[in-house]
Amino acid sequence: MPPKPTMRDKHLKYVLVAPAVLVVFATAIWPLLESLRYSFYAGRLSRPDFPQAFIGLENYTWAFLEEPAFWNSLWVTLLFTLITVFLTTFFALAFALLLAPGGRFRVGIQSLLILPFAMSPALIGVSFRFMFNPEFGLFDAFFGAIIPGVADIAWLSDPTLAFWVIVMADVWGWIPFLTLVLIGGLASIPRETLEAGQVDGASGLRILCDITIPQLKPVLAVVIILKAIFSLKTFDLVYMLTNGGPGDATQTLSHYVYFNGFKYSNIGYSAAVAWLMVIPMVLLTYAYARLVFAKESSD
């Protein structure tokens, strides 16, 4: 009789997990802690003896007290996150409701939705810069045609408009994927619940508000948190589309950290700001994990 499998696997199960855990922790936990350490130092990247001097919390107080640019990027990031989370969720939900009934036409459209998602954000940034070119951009021409006042506007040179172009590009890039996620969520609502509503003679709108949306809540929550996490991190799109400009009108926190660290070579300060970003991330990730695991244990 062979020995019990579980006995034999006592060590193997840890051996199998070890390399992956090592990779993940060495490449995430270590740099996180190392960044935290940098944030207490004055450090110029250009010098080899990095980091140079322990200065305690000075990098943090500097950000809070002496840097309007930090507050600006914080504000831009928060505004960007709020608006993009709202718009993407709204449009993705609308699109998902339209596409969910199925049939050949709708399923065909669903598979097309995969295309924008396979595009890298950097490339989306380039595309939108092209589309909003004041001389020959397609969107510029389109908006010029429907709203006469905005013909040939230099979108990316105007602080407010540039911000909205970034918002549009981001929303455009995220709607398809979140739509697919929500279609998945809609498909998991039991048919009987919906049919019960129809039998009772409830209108389409009533069914949507009273049955569909409440049933969809867990998936919606996941979508909102996931989108918030990625909105807070936004970098590629901004870098390629406006590079933070004009001035610092579209500078997100990630972009601000990048600029301070790698353009001004001020690594200690940049690490401190980066760490300020970690805090909301931890909260959002905690909420996301709670939701995901609540589902897992209820299965």
């Binding site: 990779v23 097309l112 939108f128 001389e135 996941v222």
Partner: protein, 277 residues
Amino acid sequence: MALTGRQKKLIWNSIQIVLILIFTLIMLVPIAWIALAAFKQHVDVYQLKLFFTPTWENFRIVFEKPYELGEKLKNSTIVATATVLIAIPIATCAAYSFSRFELRGRTLLLVLILATQFVPAVVIVLPFFVMFRDLGLLDTLQGLVLINTAIVMPFAIWMIKGFIDGIPIDTEEAALVDGSTRMQVIRNIVLPMAAPGLVTAGIFCFIIAWNEFLFALILTNREAVTLPVGLALFKAEEGDLWNLLAAAGIIIMVPMFILALIIRKHFVQGMTMGAVR
């Protein structure tokens, strides 16, 4: 005019179709416009022309000096392929163990692995830059493979775990009773059954590594530049060279479109890591 229920339904359905078409148009027009621009001559880009004489010229120019997109294409291919070849076996071992065994701290580990996915890249890249500089890994493909392996690992573990969870455990137990070792079971039973899942996860990781931008931007400057970062080449003094940018864009996105369509069915599940089922 009173409408019957049937007529109402018909009208509502038509409105839906129109809305869907408008949405789809908005989604596809930017992609189509870039695709068109890639075949336009320099002068045609600067007029909103829908009809023009198509040319392959742009695709030739981007591969020539000074752009040499071929080098970037090679780098991107090597980095993404090596990343997948290293990450998938490591992730598969871990995923199998997470799926089949009672591990101490299993849930906590899985949550932490998931959580690393959400750490802002700008936080991580600072220490890596310093370390790579000290080790001479800046601007090398090895460095990028290391980084990308780390980036895709959480995705890969979660996705593959999901696939292995779906494989019934009975065959494995029978084989163990018959005297197979655990490694034989994994090789002969689990791997063949999980193969479609592994391919899906592999393609998924390939797309992520291919599109990765921030690390490649900061950690390379000449030798190891990848395609997305290479887009910056087409900013000239006289402005952006849009027809060349578009051609480069096509070279970046078309392979990913094909890969994405292959794994379409599992795409969403993989991205949300099992949050939606």
